[in-house]
């Protein structure tokens, strides 16, 4: 990563302005962004710290705009979790290892998987689990705030809804097997319909290939 003096100084100035009550919330949001993206003075991303900061801002601020932004960022963190760090080009060597680590952490129920990951890049980093219900809750709260950015919040809310719906489970199992195929009349209808469809197909093929069959 090339050296960038602007990020260093900006980080320090944000840290200075956190100490003053009238600029605390906005500076904390920017610090949370620094932790979320892992820009220069930090060397690594830390979603758990960013989530911590955003939660603090969301609970303490009186500015509805800032609260909406903090809630939206919280929803993003819980929507995609630490998994989104896979899409970095710099972390490509870790790609096969990380899903395993995430599976292990979900099975054990604990977030501390620093031994499974690369020690240098994610040392002691708490992994944020993907929690779609939590994300939807935060998105809904963000939609209630008087924030300017309503459209992306709503789109991501719909996307998380879509992700949380299991299509095979809901359509095939619930609707078809449990509801439609339970009554014998419907089963008979299905069999008759399938037979009629196959018969129609066979008749069409026979009619179209009539000349070839007779020879």
């Amino acid at each position: 990563m090339p050296f960038d003096i602007n990020k260093y100084l900006a980080f320090n100035y944000f840290k200075m302005s956190v100490n003053h009550p009238d600029t605390r919330d906005e500076a904390l949001i920017k610090l949370g962004d620094h932790y979320y993206y892992g820009v220069q003075p930090l060397r690594k991303k830390s979603y758990s710290k960013a989530a911590h900061i955003y939660k603090y801002v969301e609970q303490t601020t009186r500015d509805s705009e800032l609260r909406g932004q903090a809630l939206f960022n919280l929803g993003l963190i819980y929507h995609f979790g630490s998994y989104s760090s896979l899409f970095d080009k710099s972390n490509k060597s870790r790609e096969p290892a990380s899903p395993l680590a995430e599976q292990a952490s979900t099975s054990s129920g604990d977030g501390w998987t620093s031994s499974l990951l690369d020690q240098e890049t994610e040392e002691g980093e708490k992994i944020v689990q993907i929690d779609l219900d939590q994300a939807q809750k935060f998105y809904q709260l963000a939609l209630k705030e008087e924030s300017r950015a309503q459209a992306p919040v709503y789109l991501l809310y719909l996307y998380s809804k879509w992700q949380s719906v299991d299509l095979y489970e809901s359509i095939v199992k619930e609707l078809l097997v449990n509801n439609i195929l339970k009554s014998p009349a419907n089963q008979l209808m299905m069999v008759v319909g399938a037979a009629a469809y196959l018969g129609l197909l066979f008749g069409t093929v026979r009619y179209l290939r009539k000349d070839h069959i007779e020879r």
Binding site: D4, I5, N6, A10, T23, K30
Partner: protein, 98 residues
Amino acid sequence: MAAYNVAIMHFTGLGTYQSCSVANTFIQHVADVGYQTQGLKEAHQLVQQNRYLKATLIYMELAEMGLSTAMLNTGLLMDKYSVFDSEMTYFAVDVAHG
């Protein structure tokens, strides 16, 4: 000037109790209403004219005086517009990386 004197009295404990936080409040008030706050307006006009480097320098000067708005604006300008040229800062690379 009166607020400044009250702040110094609290800071040194002359005639009243010694309290850094009270002194800080008064001295903050002095900084907030002083003539230096004209720099905030000037820097804001510079930002509107897209002259970010000069505005950042003014904001940095005000931030050293303790104006929290100037601190926040300095950070925002540096974060958004990359006002300083990073390739000219050879001296800081060794300090930063090790």
